[in-house]
């Protein structure tokens, strides 16, 4: 396998959304939308993906920046993770997102990597990334889910032929904040709940989001429902820098008289999507914010988990993170 230079492609650098959409329509499956590129270049260098045309959208000003709106904020898809991490507005009102952005990869990657790219990046399953012809790549087998497969970083929930997990740190935070994704294509614009934006292998095994060829993630809208709420974010990875989460958790909580009035919680690294923990939410709503509620929440969180050969450790790990999120939000 060649691993040095990327294969040839045509490079386009449109400066308007319409222009980008035209190019995406023209190239269809053979086109690749490039944001920060921090995920894309690995695919190209390993020659596991060989697009005929790369559409670098970074020059489109409309896709950059954080704006305050009447009922929350709108974050352009090309806003860098560093910009999110250091934004006074996000730190003040939606701290869980700033915290999640701060935990992504390394400073240099956060300087270039975008929020849109972070939520749209492909899974890290090493068999798939190596370029093997697994289910996700259009083949008819899974190399991870075999007696010899090294599946310690794979899923606990929602396995369906593929056992890959969602790698994003910001995605659970966006689900916890009840964000909406603004998707634009040739037919116009639509908004999708963050929770519905991510899809598992049961819906489509070759995609991790609802984006089809021709669709562009334009921005992310965060309603002010959870502005200034109590937040919790934690990521457990083997290295503090660069590494992807084994498990991460994001929670938003409103507390009234020491009772949990309302809560949203999502967990990454345990399913193909950032997993919203609705059972936990239902269990602790109305309960006091204390250790007993946390214990109850933890056992509810892992109910239904199906460990693989090497990832059983993720069950107590997930339970611990849920406990801490309830106690320390």
């Amino acid at each position: 396998m060649l691993r040095d230079m990327m294969a040839n492609f045509e490079l386009y650098q449109p400066t308007a959304i319409d222009h980008a959409l035209n190019l995406m329509n023209r190239y269809g499956d053979g086109g690749w939308v490039l944001a920060g590129g921090q995920d894309s270049f690995d695919w190209f260098k390993d020659r596991a993906k060989k697009p005929g045309a790369v559409i670098d959208i970074n020059g489109i000003d409309d896709l950059h920046g954080i704006r305050e709106t009447a009922d929350g904020i709108e974050i352009g898809a090309l806003t860098t993770l560093t910009e999110i991490e250091t934004s006074a507005l996000i730190k003040e009102k939606y701290g869980v997102l700033a915290d999640a952005a701060r935990h992504v990869a390394s400073p240099q990657i956060r300087n270039v990597g975008t929020i849109g790219g972070n939520v749209c990046q492909d899974t890290r399953c090493w068999y798939y990334r190596y370029g093997l012809d697994c289910y996700r790549a259009g083949g008819n087998t899974c190399y991870a889910d075999t007696p010899e497969g090294i599946d310690r970083e794979h899923c606990l929930f929602g396995a369906d032929r593929c056992i890959a997990v969602s790698p994003s740190d910001t995605a659970p935070a966006l689900v916890a904040l009840d964000a909406r994704m603004v998707v634009v294509n040739g037919d116009g614009e639509k908004e999708v709940q963050a929770e519905d934006f991510f899809i598992g292998p049961d819906v489509d095994i070759m995609r991790m989001t609802i984006l089809q060829p021709g669709d562009l993630l334009k921005s992310i809208v965060i309603p002010n429902t959870w502005a200034g709420a109590r937040f919790y974010f934690e990521k457990v990875a083997e290295r503090n820098t660069w590494d992807f989460a084994l498990v991460n958790i994001a929670a938003a909580m409103k507390v009234d008289n020491n009772a949990i009035a309302d809560i949203r919680m999502a967990c990454g690294g345990v399913a193909c999507v950032p997993l919203r923990l609705t059972v936990v939410e239902e269990v602790v709503k109305g309960s006091p914010q204390n250790g007993a509620s946390a214990d109850l929440a933890a056992s509810a969180a892992s109910r239904g988990a199906t460990p693989l050969n090497y990832n059983g450790f993720k069950i107590p790990l997930m339970e611990s993170l849920v406990k801490r999120a309830i106690r320390e939000s």
Partner: protein, 214 residues
Amino acid sequence: MNTNFSREVVLSDDEAMGRAGMSRRDFIKGIIATGASISAMGYVFGGCAGDMSSAPGAVERLISLNVNGRVRRVDVLPQETLAMTLRYKLGLTGTKLGCDRGECGACTVLVDDVAMYSCSTLTHRVRGRSVVTVEGLEGEDGDLHPVQRAFIEELGPQCGFCTPGQVMSAVALLNINPSPTREEARVAMSGTLCRCGAYDNYLNSVMRAAKEAS
């Protein structure tokens, strides 16, 4: 006579270069510069015009780059990374390629004062922006940058391969935060691996550079 002849033949590259008054580094850079001018000539005289004609609206290959304060014309492939252009077209071999995957940080450069991995940046992305590599840090009189001086004084590097990346990370940090805490410096430097494990020496260097600049 026969002996003399054999001796002449087995002259090593080092000896040959030494006789010509060149260092190995100058020799390699000379080769790179020659290669770059030949490929540019090919463009000017239409030598590879067939390959150049890209689809309408796609990027032009012959572009101007602002590197270390100088504007340089260079022939850049659409898929070329900044690290490749700097090292193999412009002869700026101070920028190192370690992993070529954005996982080690040896290739860190500044683009408009922001630290990024040049192995994971398309050169076409930095058109019209200001690129600074480790070669661009010294003053006009040839004096080293305060960060470079601090790295020497604190014996920051061990083997030295990651040092250009460490220096650029430190310069980027001190540009936006001239007096960081040790913890802030640790986070800012975390995107550059040191396989010798000289992290503490590097941190000492950054703290010294910050102190001496204040």
